[in-house]
Amino acid sequence: MNFPILSSLILLPIVGALFLFFTKDKEGNNLTAKYVALFTTVVNFLISIYLWISFDQSTSTFQFVEDRTWIEGFINYKVGVDGISILFIILTTFITPLCIISVNNSVKNRLRDFLIAILIMESFMIGVFCALDLVVFYLFFEAGLIPMFLIIGIWGGARRVYSAFKFFLYTLLGSVLMLVAIISIYWITGTTDVVQLYEIGIDVKYQNLLWLAFFSSFAVKTPMWPVHTWLPDAHVEAPTAGSVLLAAILLKMAGYGFIRFSLGLFPFASELFTPLIYTLSVIAIIFTSLIALMQEDMKKLIAYSSVAHMGFVTLGIFTLQQQGIEGSIIQMISHGLVSAALFLTVGVVYDRMHSRLISTYGGLVSVIPKYSILFMLFALASLGLPGTSGFIGEFLILMGAFKDNFLVAVIASIGVILGAAYMLWLYKRVVFGKLLNEDLKKILDLNRSEYFILSCLAAPILFFGFYPDPLINTIEVSVTDLINMHNTNIASK
């Protein structure tokens, strides 16, 4: 038996959290707790990098698989990674330490508890991405609600209670139907092991309902129009680190779920419901882009832009084309980096001015130039400028969409233009223009840790923008085999 590397990835943050739990909580800036959390997450990141290096890119079979009996004759604790999931694990382990560094002023009380919540959250998120059993997946998927509910509710803004409840109940409501579907799959096929299910397949007559049950959960989590309304609230009220986790990783669980489960387990239903997904995605892209244009709150604007970007992701996944799915995965990774960066940039000025309203700002370029440059990079990456990772994802998705459905692709392309409009307009109003607000003159440029975090995010955005090969090589074989499996399933009928 090899070293259980995935389990250690899942367990390490919990160990760190336990360690923090038994230390004494100090008032104010509890540096010790922060270093412990940082140390744990950095080690976790290094392990995941090691995982990526030793990952065999030439095969689509699951690697580093651990399979243990958990409930006798029913559920096995089974984890493993393939080319699709490994990137999300690295994204998680990469973003979490940055989140922890970013916790400077935004979290004033109970810093230790906050860090514990983030660490537990990390371990659940990694669990979601490597679970190879439906029940195990559901456990991690749902368990993540608890720390996130507390992060929003305890450390959030003025309307935190409303947002936390909305977030929790919306997601729970979506997920319970998935639980029904998972148990039904067990009774239909006799297993909840994903790998076995790929081989056996699920009878066509059940697929549509099961697909819809999974869809109800993933659509809320993605979020897709019209069940996206929890997202702006949750984002706006969550503390910066919470927003980053939400946008960068939590939303990706659903996209990942669509690829791994909806496509993999229910090929016929996926074909059948493609028009539904297309419609909802296109509405999300156009409609939420328009809403984003009208926002006065920076965090809300970025939240709506997330909905639009996730619209591209769902569109790409259900093109069922090589380019579309690869584009979706890269778009998710890229959006994870970019939206994290954007929330952090908003967090930077919010820490100084305590306002998220666009009208508070203006003319920042003359006061804090370093900040303005990095903000520009992230804004451009968000709208998908060539040379940033955002471009690769959107381009591949649209390419896949053109192959499959011309009209949808054209409408989605309009979304790209709208995306540019709201992002650039935001940038113009915040950074350019006249410096009218007197308070702004006194604010300081990025400090060392902020500079460090934002550069850490800028580097991969640029790197993968120019050289996406490492990403594409990792996912290529897995995606090809997924599509082949899909096509053989469809053809066999």
Binding site: E72, D113, L145, R160, V161, L172, V180, S184
Partner: protein, 472 residues
Amino acid sequence: MENLNLILPEIFISLSIMFLLILGVFKNDRSKIIFNLSLFSILITTIITFNETFSVTRETLFNESVVIDSMSSLMKIITLIGGFLVLVISSTYLKTFKIYNIEYPVLILSSILGMMVMISSNDLIVFYMGLELQSLALYVLATYNRDLLKSSEAGLKYFVLSALSSGLLLYGCSLVYGFSGSTNFDIISNQLNSEEYVLTFGIVFILVGLAFKISAVPFHMWAPDVYEGSPTTVTLFFTIVPKVAALTVLIRFLYVPFLNLIDQWQMIIVFLSIASMVFGAVAAIGQTNIKRLIAYSSIGHIGYTLAGLATASNEGIQSSIIYISIYVVMNLALFSCLLMLRRKDQYYENIDDLSGLSKNHPLLSLCLLVILFSLAGIPPLAGFFAKFYVFKAVLEQSMYFLAIVGLLSTVVAAFYYLRIIKIMYFDKEKDKYDNDHSLWLKLSLTVSTILILLYFIFPSQLIEVVSRINII
């Protein structure tokens, strides 16, 4: 000669009750010895039950009127452990209200004896005898804080309504006896056929009586008032121990004498289950008193337990028993928290009194957080697995409607559990509560919280024990 070893626990506990009563005459009213001796005798009874009956698959005694099988021994052990823990954590509470009297442990012992008889009964008369023994003890317990108006009201209400339900039950029993010609469950099972319409009335009356005892909707009206009015430790006893016993009897009735009449009772149980789940979730939202809230929440939980019974399969029965076991642990933990909300000899039981608890009492509120999320059924806590097994059994029988309604009402129920968490964690803090709790109280809270939290690591043990239960 009959094998009396099998009913040694009942014999032992009745002898100890008599002994304690006699001893009580010679001791003063607040004697500690009686309290400790009754704890000791419950412990001994548990050990005897475990040793003598746990490995028995199925034995009958006294002309087949008493049955000892794996279900009865497991449920007896749960009852005894529940009773033991209730008794052990109630001393501080009783002393605060100056009702630390010798009657309290004796009444608890006699109701436990009644429940043990009920659980083992294989005969209508034996069943009714046990039922009345436990009910009479419970009426007195409900009014135990007799200087308090609310407590007397609770007891009286419970007595009147419970007597009515016992009457219905008895009428049902007599109808069943009339049609089958016997009071023995096994014989009834062979004699009954679904041709007789009047027989359906008998079943309905019996089910109504039992539904009242487990407080399933629409026979739940007494529960919130009685739970609120009774002393908190008695409420704890009400929410766990009699429910375990009544549920066992319900299982026995449904799957032994009425097994051939599934078509008649299945819809009734499904209705009771759905009504309890939905009503329990919705009605709890507006509550301000924690004990009332727990009453509605326990109505909801009974709904989930009944969902397992409605499946008419061994899987379903087993899942119900798993559910009730986990529910017992969760309720025990919840009440341990409630008993810790004490400040200067006064107990607080409003939800608002929890406000900002996490600032002053971080550990207590963390425990409560775990318990509430578990009650709401959020993974990976024990409460999720309880629901998971039930719905697994329900979906095996393709009862999709029941499963979906049940799961949707968990979402509604999650709302009121979250509301308590919100008050604890997001609101402004109030004064500190006292920290000098008895060791037993702390121990029961810690152990039960750890069980809830870490159940997911060893889920197989409980299943293994329960899977020995094969009624059908």
